[in-house]
Structure formats: structure tokens, C-alpha cells
């Protein structure tokens, strides 16, 4: 069996339909349990109750970057092998990525105000995240602006390649430039920097929940795009007849 079999829309619809209920159940269980558990964690000695924001901010930021990287992979598959399902998967992922980026930006601003004394700072990580959000908006706008779906997939694929620089930058900006307000990795394994277990375990659970939520939304949205494409093909065939 080859992974390229799933480039066949019929095979994709059949397989995704079978696994979707399990993914939805897993996403709901992990996200709800993780967020409730996180909300009930004790106050941090330094940050007080604001530490509870980490259970939204970190998983959303993680997904914001990784969704763009997933779009990069599927866009490359489209550009190289011309598999329609991969282009539609990239298109389907973008709105979810934009929402995750927006959650990371909003929760970061809300968290930053009491901890840093400012809602916003032109710090390397914050700025690259804002640019990543603008890339998501531009990517979605480009899909809507180009009428021919294959041309739209080509152009958005190239845009995705360019935007990947900012996706990687938003992850490693703190390491590149040793300045700004934002701290380094939240889940450092270095001795003395490791997060306390009381926060670490619910954080792992919400990260798993956000990943499964993205997967569920990706499958549903790709199925929607396949149906829309099939309907457009049927209408075009009728118009030609």
C-alpha cells in the first residue's frame, strides 16, 4: 500500500469518513479535559493565575507554525506531483491555521499586559507571528481571487514557500536574536528549566487536543473542498454539453 493512494479523492473520502468519528471524539476529549484541568491548576508563585493562559497560548502557537509547515508539504506535493487532494488539503488547513495564530496573538497580548506591562512589543517572535498571520490572510485571499483552481493552487503553493520563512522564523526568532520580551522554549528539557509537572501534564493534553482538533477540522474541510470541486466539475460538464 502506498501513501499516494490517498491522492485519489474516492479513496480519501472513504478512509477519512471511517476515521473521522474517532478523531472528533479524541479531539473533544483531550481539548475539553486539558482545558478544564489547566483552568483548575494552582497559581504560579510568579505569574499568579495568568499561568492558566499557557494552556491556550502554547498549543495555539505550536499549531499555528506547524499548520503552515503542513501546508508547505502538501503544496510541494501539488507543485511536484500534481495531486489535487494535497492542494485542497492545504487550502482547507489555512483558515484553521489563521484562527490558531489569532488565538496565540490575542492570548499573548492579554497575558503580556500584566506580566510585561504592555499589550504589544515589536519583539522578534511577536512580529514574526504577526507577519505569519498576515501570510495566512493573504494565502486565503489568493485562493478566492484566482478563478482557475489549478492556477490558484500553483500561486498559493509559491506563496506558501515564501511564508515558510516566517513560520520558521516565528519558531526560532528568539534563538536568532537574543533580544525582546518573549522567553525561549516553554517546554525546555534543560535541568532547572523544566516546567513543573502540575502544569506540564495538562499542557501535553491540550497540545494533543489542539492537534486532534486540527486533524478533525482538516479532514472535514478537505472533504468539503472535494465535494465543491466535484460539483463544479459536474456543472462545467453540463454547460459544455
Amino acid at each position: 500500500m502506498s501513501i499516494w493512494e490517498y491522492a485519489n479523492p474516492v479513496k480519501f473520502m472513504r478512509t477519512s469518513g471511517a476515521i473521522l468519528p474517532w478523531v472528533v471524539a479524541g479531539a473533544a476529549a483531550c481539548t475539553v479535559t486539558g482545558l478544564v484541568w489547566g483552568f483548575l491548576t494552582p497559581e504560579d508563585y510568579k505569574q499568579g493565575a495568568t499561568v492558566k493562559i499557557i494552556f491556550l497560548h502554547v498549543p495555539a502557537a505550536l499549531m499555528a507554525i506547524n499548520i503552515w509547515l503542513m501546508m508547505l508539504v502538501t503544496s510541494l506535493i501539488w507543485l511536484i506531483r500534481r495531486h489535487h487532494v494535497s492542494a485542497l488539503a492545504a487550502k482547507a488547513a489555512a483558515p484553521v491555521g489563521a484562527v490558531m495564530t489569532l488565538i496565540a496573538l490575542i492570548t499573548g497580548a492579554i497575558w503580556g499586559q500584566p506580566m510585561w506591562g504592555t499589550w504589544w512589543e515589536w519583539d522578534p517572535r511577536l512580529t514574526s507571528f504577526l507577519i505569519l498571520f498576515l501570510f495566512y490572510l493573504g494565502y486565503m485571499a489568493l485562493w478566492e481571487a484566482v478563478e482557475n483552481p489549478d492556477s490558484a493552487a500553483d500561486l498559493t503553493g509559491v506563496l506558501c514557500l515564501v511564508g515558510s520563512v516566517f513560520a520558521l522564523l516565528s519558531r526560532y526568532a528568539v534563538n536568532f536574536w537574543n533580544q525582546g520580551l518573549h522567553q525561549g522554549a516553554s517546554l525546555s528539557m534543560a535541568p532547572g528549566e523544566r516546567m513543573a509537572a502540575v502544569y506540564r501534564y495538562p499542557l501535553y493534553l491540550t497540545m494533543a487536543g489542539f492537534f486532534l482538533l486540527f486533524l478533525a477540522l482538516l479532514l472535514i474541510r478537505t472533504r468539503t473542498e472535494i465535494r465543491r470541486r466535484r460539483l463544479a466539475a459536474l456543472l462545467a460538464r453540463e454547460n459544455r454539453a
Binding site: A49, I53, V96, I103, I220, R227
Partner: protein, 47 residues
Amino acid sequence: MTELGKYAGTVLAAYGASLVLLIGIVVQTVLANARARRELQEHERRG
């Protein structure tokens, strides 16, 4: 019930805004999928 202390507004604003966005994308996804399925089924039924 958990104690939020002087940061109650901050924490609740972060959770509220995030939940609105998450629920929004879920609802939009489900409605768009239902609409696409219905339109395709109607078209295929008409032949």
C-alpha cells in the same frame, strides 16, 4: 472552584476570546461541509 484572584479578568478574557474563535471555526466548518454535501447530493439526484 479555582481562585483567579486579581487576574480573573485577564484569564477569563483569554479563555473567552479563544473559545469564541475555536467554536466559530468548528461551527463554520460543519455548516460549510453540510451545505457542500447537500448541494452535491441534490445535483446528483437531479442527474
